[in-house]
């Protein structure tokens, strides 16, 4: 390399390069220490104020807030559908490029870094944070929904087509969402572990804006991330509690009313508190491993109980459908399948993107020591392959039951949160497997609540990860309290309102993510130069 650079001294070059990321900013320098806490000013205080204002508004005017915020979410989808869809495609190509290009050899945390977690635990945590709950609820409901024309069909292909039903489901749960997470996760991990910047969203813009990221520009990005994460989690917990309660009612005839729902929220929050107290290694990691094992058992059961031949045929249909429809479904121009396009794809894209600061930061936290290539393969390719198997087993079985006219699914989707249980009902050992499914859903809620509090705490303490434990516990409790109060006082309308608000955060974040791609490219290029000159220097 040194020859290509003429007669410049590699040592000088390395020094010059290193200066680019030298900042006087000290992690935690803006923090306020009061009452034994360690909080970023103003990110914590403005976030807290906005959280209170939004919750109170949703409680006082649940219907109006729901109407208004849902209208906002829908309008964002209508106006910016092209932006969401194109950005999603860009993210997939970007991530695939990182696997192939020479930057793939860069190791997160530096050349000598070693992974903090075993491969299995790492993958288990990726799934738990990324989409565990969604895979439980939608793996049957979505493909069966398309197949029975419940609410629009992909490209208006009409019902009764297994390939388009399974292919479109894969499109929503495959490469695209994971690429969205991958961009955020790699950016955060890279700038924290390789460049020594604080672990918070704003740091990913350092190559573009320099020290200005530590000012108001960064405050706004971080506050938005806090709000999207907290309301995303709290509303999912609240709505998830109603779904779990209706599942319990369906299975055991337990009254699905408010008492059961609040009991579920309290139970989830209590276990999450214990998990937080035990830390990442003793808490989230252990729960994620338990969950991935249970999920694998359930998957094997569904594969065998539904018939192995039918399963393999479904894998073929899913893969074929995915390949066949990925390009037409990715196309933002001249779409006429309004219900499917806006109701499903754009909703999901906004959802994944608004969820990405949370999932991305958690993935970043546990991914030190992997190379960019390993990282992107594990975040993009492995989950997509696993999801193909999962969707083929669950969705394929659901569709087969419709074709055979077996059970309630044959009559179409009545309640999307029950579809999984209705499918399991027509396989042997219904009580055991349904109970297992409920447990899985609840544990996924616990891991989300735990990792979410980790993420919010890190952002609201300015990227510090060694802030007092009480702060993390505080966020777990707040999340449960918001979910419970919204449900008890405002009802589902209040939850829907704030969920629509959280998903609307997808719009600012799609811009944030696109800029992140540029910023990450600059950062990775810089690191690669450092490695090259560094090795020239030492040789």
């Amino acid at each position: 390399m040194s020859e290509q650079e003429g007669n410049q001294d590699p040592q000088l070059l390395v020094k010059e390069l290193e200066e680019v990321y030298e900042t006087d900013y000290e992690i935690g320098q803006d923090n306020v220490n009061a009452f034994g806490l360690d909080l970023h000013n103003p990110v914590f205080f403005i976030s807290a104020l906005l959280i209170i204002v939004l919750v109170v508004t949703a409680l006082l005017f649940p219907e109006a807030a729901d109407k208004q915020l849902t209208a906002t979410r829908v309008a964002i989808g209508d106006w910016f559908d092209w932006l969401f869809l194109s950005a999603g495609n860009i993210f997939v190509l970007f991530c695939l490029a990182l696997i192939i290009l020479p930057v793939g050899r860069i190791r997160i945390g530096g050349e000598d870094a070693t992974p903090d977690f075993s491969l299995m635990s790492w993958l288990a945590m990726l799934f738990a944070a990324g989409m565990g709950i969604g895979l439980m609820f939608w793996a049957v409901a979505e493909p069966v929904g398309y197949f029975t024309e419940w609410s629009g069909t992909p490209l208006d292909a009409g019902g009764g087509d297994a390939a388009s039903a399974l292919g479109a489901t894969m499109y929503h749960w495959g490469l695209h969402p994971w690429a969205i997470y991958g961009v955020v996760a790699l950016s955060l991990a890279f700038f924290a572990y390789n460049k020594g910047l604080p672990l918070t969203i704003r740091s990913t813009f350092y190559p573009l804006f320099g020290d200005r990221v530590f000012g108001w520009l960064g405050h706004v990005i971080d506050i938005l991330a806090v709000l999207a994460t907290l309301f995303g989690l709290a509303t999912s917990l609240g709505l998830g509690a109603t779904q779990a309660a209706s599942g319990l009612n369906f299975l055991f005839g337990i009254d699905p009313g408010l008492t059961t729902q609040v009991a579920i929220i309290i139970g989830v929050t209590a276990v999450a508190l214990v998990s937080v107290m035990r830390g990442i290694h003793g808490g989230v990691r252990v729960l994620s491993n338990i969950n991935i094992t249970l999920a694998f058992v359930l998957l094997l059961f569904v594969m065998f109980a539904g018939g192995l031949i039918a399963f393999f045929s479904s894998v073929g249909t899913t893969l074929g459908g995915y390949l066949q429809y990925i390009l037409p479904l990715s196309n933002p121009v001249g779409r006429e399948d309004e219900t499917f396009y806006h109701g499903w794809t754009i909703f999901f894209w906004a959802w994944w993107i608004s969820w990405s600061p949370f999932v991305g930061m958690f993935i970043a936290r546990v991914s030190r020591g992997r190379t960019v290539r390993q990282f992107m393969t594990a975040v993009l390719i492995v989950p997509t392959v696993v999801t193909v198997v999962w969707m083929s087993a669950f969705g394929g079985n659901g569709i087969n039951q419709v074709i055979d006219g077996v059970g309630e699914l044959a009559g179409g989707i009545s309640d999307s949160s029950l579809a999984l249980f209705q499918m399991l009902q027509n396989l042997p050992f219904t009580n055991v497997t349904s109970f297992l499914a409920i447990v899985l859903v609840l544990v996924f809620f616990i891991t989300s609540s735990d990792s979410g509090s980790l993420v919010i705490d890190s952002i609201t303490s300015g990227g510090k990860t060694n802030a007092p434990k009480s702060q993390r516990l505080f966020w777990v409790v707040i999340e449960g309290v918001i979910a419970g109060v919204l449900l008890a006082v405002g009802g589902e309308a209040a939850l829907d309102a704030l969920q629509a608000g959280a998903v609307s955060a997808g719009l600012p974040f799609v811009i944030v993510l696109l800029l992140m791609c540029v910023s990450l490219t600059k950062g990775l290029h810089h690191e690669l130069q450092l490695i090259r000159y560094g090795s020239a220097e030492s040789s």
Binding site: E26, I27, G28, Q29, N33, G36, L37, D38, G109, G110, D112, D116, F117, A192, Y193, K195, G196, L197, P198, L199, M277, R278, G279, I280, H281, G282, R365, V366, R368, S458, G463, K464, T465, N466, A467, P468, K469, S470, L473
Partner: protein, 139 residues
Amino acid sequence: MFKKIMVPVDLEHLEKMERTRQLAVELARQYGAAVCYATVAGRVPNRAASSPEVLAEKLDSFASEEGQRHGIQTEAIVKPSTDVIIELDRKLLEACSECGADLVVMASHIPGVADRLHLISSNAADFVRKSKVSVLVVR
């Protein structure tokens, strides 16, 4: 009476543990013991250093400076952790047995990390309960 004294330090908040450091040095002189400075380092960048490796370098030079200034034998041990605030006790106990210390001199709350933790528990209290060697807690 003692051969090696372990002193948990936090490079972020050295100024808050003057007395602890002083006491350790005096004990080391009195018994001709070595001092082992121990730190639990987060993987994620923090104020003291951008990575565990950088922190290890800093702690090494801190330890040798202290050694030269006070004429005692010193060493440094860094235990990396993915979740410092939770794993502090366990990692310090590991450090203690790894460096073979027979006395630990520590601040009642390890400054910067644990002194704000009193809402939940005192780290020193937990450490004393689990430690196999003598612990001198400085208030």
